[in-house]
């Protein structure tokens, strides 16, 4: 818990006098003696540690008000989130549940349940948050949510310090209806099988920003911190820009994202209607000073009728009230609250219409259907495109964990619905053969958690053959041995299948100067090609490779297969069987 103490160092200073009046405890005795011993000599790390523990107990635990516990909790989850983000890498991954935040995010669980009719693997953990929210309200927003913590921290560091200004900025605003509109539209779209919550769900958004923009950005400034080789992501500027925008907005409107945009907050706000414990103001004690608004995170009107749907359960108002008029109470007076979300019925109807229309116009573009893009090469183990749009929450965990940087967030390749979903860009990387990390971290099963054996069709999966994600094709006009009298066949060298899907024939050609030379010209065997794209990535014609993988031939879709025998090497298997 040293993290908590570090975070609270600033808060603790104000209480030095109070601390001195406290009775001495064995711990503080120990600290004192340790201090004396180490005076003038090199500090012993063990003493420093003991001092830290001592400080923690004497300062934090001694005055363990609920807001302080909350800060420890926020720090814990924020650091846990960053820890998960950093270790989402083959070198450190081990058995850590790095997608835990996404899995406990109830909006992810509920929305995928709406689109697919199932709750995939660990998404059942969403219940862990759903149940307490029904009892306590939106405590997630100010106790757990790392994105919320980021906003609160930004506002604390860079927001206004003027007390009156802050009170004004924390009054309820009709802008806060917006998040319910967004949430409702997304849920309605989900009913049709288009999962869009990931665009703005705070956990997805934060994961995505870290994976594609923040970590690569830090690594650019301090090389070798997170990556062996610098990672690049298509459209990182946009994702990073959106993060910076929301973070920056805190200076103008505190926690702008949490109050006005967050669809998860909206969802939890709707659930808060049923909560049985809430902040309660005693009107007889209240002197109407509005001091409770000074640090109010949710802009939930604690100074009058509390808006349950907006309250983040941060307890700041209790601490800020000069007359102890505010308390946290069980089943308080119904008259003192606004239970439901501030969303008039006609706005709700408009939101639903937006959801329907948004789905209709996006799907009608045909990007996931008849006009599918050859560049939409999905990671191995991905479900068919329609299912992919039902499951992918655009959290980009797969992009974070990918060891070759091949996974890139789409911009418009997969259509509007597929915005920021992962595709393989062979110019940047390639799909590593003995690797299924993207499926291991995918929380929703858009990329199924397949094993290396299932991916490569080994062992008991030999009968079904390998998972193919596309097929490679040669561009003879750009290929060195085909067009330019130059030996090459790097593609054949790196082709990872056995037998190699790329083979070559030696031909003697007449050169321009009349001489002759022998070169090897490469070919692709479509029954063996798995579309991993290492050929394209290693092709020396770097800007527009002479061999390129396109999505055709992927096993996930029966419509997009290439070969009559299902695009799987069943012909190959026949041969194996014959051999047996």
């Amino acid at each position: 818990m040293s993290c908590g103490s570090g975070n609270c160092g600033c808060g603790g200073k104000g209480h030095q006098p109070e601390q001195e009046t406290r009775p001495e405890s064995p711990v503080t005795d120990y600290i004192k003696s340790a201090k004396n011993n180490s005076r003038g000599s090199v500090p012993d790390p063990r003493n420093a540690f003991a001092r830290a523990i001592g400080w923690f107990f004497s300062t934090i635990m001694a005055d363990m008000r609920i807001t302080r516990v909350r800060i420890i909790s926020q720090a814990f989850f924020f650091i846990l989130f960053l820890f998960f983000v950093v270790i989402t890498d083959l070198r450190y991954l081990k058995g850590y549940p790095v997608s835990l935040f996404l899995e406990v995010d109830p909006l992810v669980g509920v929305a995928t349940a709406i689109t697919t009719g199932t709750v995939y693997k660990a998404l059942i953990l969403g219940l862990i948050l759903l149940i307490p929210t029904l009892l306590l309200g939106r405590f997630f927003c100010n106790w757990i949510c790392p994105y919320g913590t980021l906003h609160q921290l930004t506002n604390f560091l860079f927001g206004s310090r003027d007390e009156q200004q802050r009170i004004e900025s924390n009054r309820f605003s009709n802008l806060q209806q917006l998040k319910y509109v967004i949430w409702l539209a997304m849920i309605v779209a989900a009913l049709f099988g288009s999962l869009q919550i990931g665009l703005l769900d705070p956990i997805c958004l934060f994961h995505r920003s870290m994976a594609t923009a923040i970590l690569p950005g830090i690594n650019l400034i301090f090389p070798d911190t997170f990556y062996v080789e610098q990672y690049f992501h298509v459209g990182a500027w946009l994702i990073g820009g959106i993060l910076l925008f929301f973070v920056g907005m805190n200076v103008i409107i505190p926690r702008f994202f949490c109050r006005a945009v967050c669809p998860l907050g909206a969802f939890l706000g709707v659930l808060s209607r049923f909560s049985v414990i809430r902040i309660e103001r005693d009107p007889n004690k209240c002197i109407d000073c509005d001091a409770c608004l000074k640090n109010c995170q949710g802009a939930s009107d604690p100074h009058t009728q509390l808006r349950k749907s907006e309250c983040f359960v941060c307890f700041e108002c209790i601490d800020d009230c000069p007359v102890d008029a505010i308390s946290f109470s069980f089943m308080p007076n119904k008259e003192h609250e606004v239970a439901g979300p501030p969303l008039p019925g006609r706005r709700a109807a408009l939101a639903s219409l937006l959801g329907v229309a948004g789905y209709a116009v996006a799907r009608a573009s045909g990007d996931s259907d008849a006009n599918f893009n050859k560049k939409v090469i999905r990671p191995p183990g991905s479900v068919a495109e329609e299912g992919f749009l039902e499951r992918c929450i655009k959290c980009d965990q797969c992009i974070r964990v990918c060891p070759t940087n091949v996974l890139q967030p789409t911009v418009m390749e997969a259509g509007l619905e597929g915005f920021w979903t992962p595709i393989l860009n062979m110019k940047v990387g390639y799909c590593e053969l003995n690797c299924t990390l993207c499926g291991q971290v995918c929380p929703t099963g858009a990329i199924q958690r397949i094993s290396i054996e299932e991916k490569n069709g080994r062992g008991q999966f030999a009968e079904q053959g390998p998972v193919k994600i596309g097929t490679a094709f040669y561009d003879h006009g750009r290929c060195l041995p085909w067009a330019m009298e130059t030996p090459c066949v790097v593609c054949e060298e790196v082709c990872p299948t056995s037998p190699k899907a790329i083979y070559s024939h030696e031909v003697t050609i007449r050169k321009r100067d009349g001489g002759s030379m022998t070169v090897r010209r490469p070919y692709v065997d479509p029954s063996l090609c798995i579309g991993c794209g290492i050929c394209e990535h290693e092709c020396p014609v770097k800007d527009h490779a002479a061999i390129r993988v396109t999505a055709i031939g992927e096993t996930r879709s029966t419509d997009r297969r290439l070969l009559m025998d299902g695009g799987d090497p069943s012909s190959l298997l026949d041969l194996v069987k014959k051999k047996r």
């Binding site: 818990m1 516990v69 094993s451 083979y503 024939h505 003697t508 100067d513």
Partner: protein, 371 residues
């Protein structure tokens, strides 16, 4: 945290025990959660990331028919060659080399079988399959001291001499000049073409420069000498004399010659005689009786579609002369031999021609022909 903004103490100083214990409980949950996560992180199955080594056992069997890239002969091992095609009689380790000065190998020796011949000669391949193609060994040689002139050698191995001759004769160029070092061979503007034993040899030059043609000739002689002689089944071919033969006119007709089912496996050549062209054919039947039977069948055919005339004596052979549609056919048989001139315009010329060559039956032994 935000409390410290104004550097003031809290208004609320009285923290109830309930609040403290709830706080303690929450911290306890966090500690348990932290320990639980570390425990979960530490215990995992490594094969999740490395794959199961035992699953590799399923790859112990090589995939047939998907051999590694075809390389030069020196690089290929026997089993790879065997896997690279369906041909049963694949030869391994063959190296086509030459001792001819002025030629150096360009690229490795290439070997093709029935399955891969298309890659080398494309659409010409089916013609070779008709004659039971077995294997092609090919290599390019650079002509030293030139700007990239080369000579390609192709050795098409067929299943029998007769099939080798068959493909040789159908590809034969009318303009080809016969060779003095081999019976079945000619030289054209493109190079040298020969049949030796079961092999049809092509030596193709990149230009018709005399110096290069000389090198090609040396190479052809060397190749001809290196290949075993084998004329089994080709005896009929020696019935046709070399003298007066129009170069390149010798062909083998496997069946239904001149529209007659009786005539199969014959050799035919055209001759220049008295300013006219004569077509002479010859065949050897397994026995004298069969030869005689064939002769009779042919005679009956011409009797049906023409008129039989009085036959002159040609040695001790049985002869018939038939006129059919204004052309003369004179066919004789003697021992196992059936031979004759067909479609001649001048009866006497044909008779004379036959008398010159078959007048003394069996007198001319094979050895006397110049090959």
């Amino acid at each position: 945290m935000p409390q410290s903004v104004n550097k003031r103490d809290f208004y609320r100083t009285d923290i109830s025990l309930l609040e403290k214990s709830i706080g303690g409980g929450i911290l306890l949950i966090l500690v348990i959660l932290g320990i639980g996560l570390v425990y979960k992180g530490r215990s995992y199955d490594a094969t999740l990331y490395t794959g199961d080594p035992e699953a590799l056992e399923s790859t112990r069997v090589a995939v047939e028919g998907k051999a590694a890239t075809v390389r030069g002969a020196g690089d290929l091992r026997a089993y790879e060659m065997a896997g690279s095609g369906q041909s049963v009689t694949t030869t391994t380790g063959k190296e086509l080399a030459t001792a001819v000065a002025g030629l150096s190998p360009l690229g490795p020796t290439e070997i093709y079988n029935e399955a891969t011949l298309f890659e080398k000669i494309n659409g010409r391949a089916p013609a070779y399959f008709q004659f039971n193609f077995q294997e092609l060994i090919s290599r390019s040689f650079l002509v030293e001291g030139t700007a990239g002139d080369f000579i390609d050698a192709y050795l098409f191995r067929m299943d029998s001499p007769i099939n080798a001759f068959g493909i040789f004769s159908i590809e034969r160029s009318e303009a080809g000049a016969t060779l003095d070092f081999i019976a079945d061979g000619y030289r054209s503007g493109m190079g040298y073409f020969m049949r030796q034993g079961t092999t049809y040899v092509q030596v193709i030059t990149s230009s018709s420069d005399p110096a290069i043609m000389t090198l090609a000739e040396s190479l052809s002689k060397e190749l001809a000498a290196s290949l075993p002689e084998n004329n089994a089944g080709l005896e009929g071919r020696f019935l046709l004399p070399a003298e007066g033969q129009i170069p390149g006119s010798l062909t083998y007709i496997s069946e239904d010659a001149y529209g007659q089912s009786a005539l199969s496996g014959i050799f035919e050549a055209k001759y220049e005689s008295g300013g006219q062209e004569l077509t002479l054919f010859g065949m050897n039947a397994p026995t004298a009786e069969e030869a005689s039977g064939t002769w009779e069948a042919v005679r009956d055919f011409y009797g049906k579609f023409g008129s039989l005339e009085e036959a002159p004596a040609i040695g001790d052979a049985e002869v018939f002369v038939a006129e059919s549609f204004g052309q003369w056919n004179i066919i004789l048989t003697s021992g196992q031999t059936v031979a004759g001139v067909v479609n001649a315009n001048d009866r006497d010329l044909a008779v004379n021609f036959l008398q010159t060559h078959f007048g003394t039956a069996e007198a001319e032994s094979e050895e006397e022909y110049i090959f």
